[in-house]
Subunit: 301 residues, 2 copies
């Protein structure tokens, strides 16, 4: 089994109360694929420009990550994001964004990737999400993310995408904006009405909420005393979730709840350092230890 | 065993997106005592004025709540709070507040209450909190709340109170303000440095966090689709916690974690209707059923 992810591979510059990192590896597909690779093989479909530093590829070294679908485009520039986190660091402030290659044609799905069983459509134009999806033959599990920009400017196309996915992993502000409902369980139910059979709502330091026809299930974030840089936490969460679901070959409510635990744990590592540094130095034993500690924290009678 | 609570018994007027309630029973000691009474006998130490509607006392009817310490003061007026909740309803906006009797002398602890084993000092002037506390002979467990006003204007007195309590139940904004630390585990540790051996930080719809020398433990809120009026949720949480701890005769970390489950569940009922209406119609079986459902939600491997 394998998880195909399409999304951004970026050059990030981030400032937080704990320091700054200039021109470091980032992007939704990068965080997602490193996090997911601890659970299942990952296939990346993304594009970068000719300014993309080759040393950034070390992030993917020695992992079950297939980069056949990573296009290096001549004459194009890599997506760049510059942001900062202040105060309680629960929300990124975008200082500058250059879409660059993300504003061009969607990357192609290489033929050997067409048999992928799990697909994660990270945040991008909803029409692009469907273009990539149609190139996968018969995926068993398709999940997407989105963002405020598309909810506002491309609602119809986004609704069309939502009709074609099994699940959505989205943050709280986006869920509210998409459904115009303030209560998050209500918002989750509103998204289910659009087609998906599950919604995971990410609440940053406040944890996450799973909404399915079976009801609503909340989890806290892993208690984190060291939060250096929250960039990529949401994509690492999605990576942990999708990697685990692909590994288990299941996506019933119980599997989704266990997957959310893995997503929570992967996000908790990501925020401990800038870029994907902390994910890179992780072992499977580190992850299992933290999953054990988290599960134990939740087992209270 | 019994829990003594000192705090306010109030006349509230509240507006939320779901409606409004004018001149209804409210106040920290009221919500606390009703919630705690499902677990242990409660003793109320508070004062109201001669405008206090006698019919409000029905809230306490047929419960293990001893009102010997509830003073009806001639010539005084009852504490009144007028507030509203908007948007995600996670924070109350105070529209109007009349301290009235709360600005007078602290209520006296009746001699038969002096042997109380558990004491909860709900939010009031920290000097008043200590005045009440010194009238209890040898309490085994003393826990206090506070608020932004005292943190700003009476910090020294508050620090003196913190030296005399075993635990603190406080909200996230207050914990940050008190310690000048943004990270909530950091803030909790900062409060432990002031004397208490545990801190429970209430995060409204985002759940709660326990900080002790053993570490940090997070719990989500009970997923609530119906939130009519969040007034009193924090005091109901404290009531569930203190009632359960008194019932168990324990306050080690495991007992605190189990108590936080009861606090979470009591708060989840309070927000389902205005004033203490939902608490009033509850049975013990309702509470046990929801505790069971919540614990089950958290048992995920």
């Amino acid at each position: 089994m394998a998880v195909l992810v399409t999304g951004s591979v970026a050059i990030d510059s981030v400032t937080t109360p704990h320091g700054e990192a200039r021109e470091v590896p980032g992007g939704s597909a990068l965080y997602f694929s490193v996090a997911a690779s601890f659970f299942a093989p990952v296939r990346v479909v993304a594009a970068v420009g000719e300014d993309f530093p080759k040393r950034f590829l070390r992030v993917f070294d020695d992992r079950a990550i297939d980069l056949t679908g990573l296009e290096f485009r001549r004459g194009s520039k890599t997506f760049r994001w510059t942001g900062r986190f202040d105060g309680d660091m629960n929300e990124a402030q975008t200082v500058d964004v250059d879409l660059n290659v993300l504003a061009e044609d969607a990357p192609r799905v290489p033929p050997p990737f067409a048999d992928s069983e799990s697909v994660f459509l990270a945040n991008t134009h909803p029409t692009r999400q469907r273009e990539v999806l149609t190139q996968v033959t018969s995926p068993r599990l398709v999940v997407c993310d989105s963002m405020n920009l598309w909810i506002t400017t491309e609602r119809e196309s986004l609704v069309e995408t939502l009709r074609k996915v099994h699940g959505v992993i989205i943050n709280d502000a986006e869920a509210r904006q998409l459904t115009k409902r303030m209560n998050l369980i209500d918002a989750g139910d509103g998204i289910l009405d659009l087609g998906p059979r599950f919604v995971m709502i990410k609440k940053g330091e406040h944890g996450s909420l799973l909404v399915t026809a079976d009801g609503a299930y909340a989890l806290p974030a892993y208690p984190a005393k060291v939060v250096r840089d929250p960039t990529g936490a949401g994509d690492s969460f999605a990576g942990g979730v999708m990697g685990y679901l692909d590994q288990q070959g299941a996506s019933d409510t119980q599997a989704l709840r266990r997957a959310m635990v893995r997503g929570t744990v992967m996000a908790s590592f990501t925020i401990e350092d800038f870029s994907a540094r902390r994910l890179q130095e992780l072992s499977r034993a580190d992850i299992e230890r933290r999953v054990g500690h988290y599960v134990e924290m939740l087992h209270v009678g």
